[in-house]
Symmetry: C2
Subunit: 258 residues, 2 copies
């Protein structure tokens, strides 16, 4: 069933692991890809960690991965501002190490006074003070950019508020509509394909979450495979709009032979 595909883009949480627990069949699947030298990458909306940190976590779970296999919404944000904003770019940034590090890499100037943009990623140290600083910047003409719109995120400690909830507060306080780069936006999928160097029709996007993973593939015109190991359960899939190309219970390395 998956034999025709030449490249694989896979979500992480709910697809490869659940919190601290690897999904064994998924690890086997990635090993099969690596053994056959089929190009693959992991595409995550999580903006908090760097590619190196994520690769380390995968290696500890015995999933073959280097930092080059990882593409995050923080990297997509860096690629987006580099492509579309004038330089030097002054940004007020709310976010964690993953986002800060991606933006440092491209030499964004960090400031809380008169920034051109307010860039928002998940931040466990979000406060009313940061909300007020963002509001003032946006009232002053800055543009609101956000890594992703996930309202709640699975973590090793259970569900926690996602970046979508932080962005909602900032958008309400300022009246500024946010612009997102993460899944389900087409931008992050196009970026992944340009790194993977495979054509849309021969690439498969695999994930557990209809509203982020499946919708990202559908919007970008990339075939999709839903796995029933995470957020969107198979039973509720039929109630969604346009359906993924495939839906299976779990990943299975033998599908690569069929």
């Amino acid at each position: 069933m998956l034999a025709p595909y030449r490249g694989f883009i896979m979500d992480l949480d709910g697809t490869i692991y659940n919190g601290k627990e690897v999904i064994k069949e998924s690890a086997d699947f990635v090993h099969a890809l690596a053994d056959r030298q089929i190009p693959y990458m992991f595409l995550t909306n999580n903006s908090s960690r760097t590619p190196t940190e994520i690769a380390d976590k995968l290696k500890r779970m015995n999933v073959p991965a280097t930092s080059e296999h990882i593409y995050t919404s923080s990297l997509a944000m860096a690629a987006y501002v580099r492509a579309y904003w004038h330089w030097p770019l002054h940004a007020y940034v709310i976010g964690s190490r993953g986002l800060v590090s991606a933006l440092e890499e491209i030499e964004v100037h960090f400031t809380d006074r008169n920034p051109d943009v307010v860039i928002v990623g998940i931040d466990r140290f979000f406060t009313y003070e940061k909300l007020a600083t963002a509001q003032a910047a946006l009232f002053n003409g800055a543009t609101l950019l956000a890594t992703n719109a996930d309202n709640a995120i699975p973590t090793e400690d259970g569900y926690m508020p996602g970046n979508g909830s932080i962005v909602a507060a900032i958008a309400k306080a300022s009246g500024s509509p946010p612009m997102f780069v993460g899944k389900p936006e087409q931008w992050i999928v196009e970026q992944s394909l340009s790194i993977l160097k495979t054509a849309k029709a021969e690439t498969l996007l695999i994930g557990d979450n209809y509203d982020t993973d499946m919708l990202a593939g559908i919007r970008a015109g990339v075939p999709t495979l839903h796995v029933d190991t995470g957020v969107t359960r198979a039973a509720s899939l039929a109630g969604k709009g346009e359906q993924p190309t495939f839906s299976i219970a779990k990943l299975d390395a033998s599908l690569l032979d069929r």
Copy 2:
């Protein structure tokens, strides 16, 4: 023009004062009401201060007021839960002194574990941790109640994020729709009338903000007077929906004779 009215409900910020500055004509108007012994009260969505603190601020500005003249969205919240919730009520409360004190008064039990309700008012010390605690409580079946939905609020330090932005984050993170008690909800106007003891048709609701003050009066069926001293400028009033009964530049004590 205002001679027929037997009771007056007035907004505070933008109507009686702007930040630290009293609006002189408004102070004169309240003095005229007091001199003629016409019942009046101040109705504010600001949940952060107690009636005593607000009355003290008014007195410092030479506006005649005691704590009995003040009705806040915090008092409306206390009245609401006392009227509609079973007792004892366990609440996780995000808010400031004004809200906490109103809920202590009616002996709400404060807890962050398995509350019946999450009650949200403006909180300058709002954090991601409080957002996560609220999310967990709501996932666990609690109901989301909020004093008011103001997105941005005028303060002595300029505009700051309002309670509506905090509630937006909590609603997004949890998927729970919030229930509001403050203006423009009818509930808080009905409560004000029951304290003022005047009939709807003979009471005038005065305010500067169309979306809170004017809409509250319109929804509750109370005549409204818009003043052009605050948020909604007269020029933009025509673009709104149902119009207030009256619109004037500033309050004017002589209107009470006409």
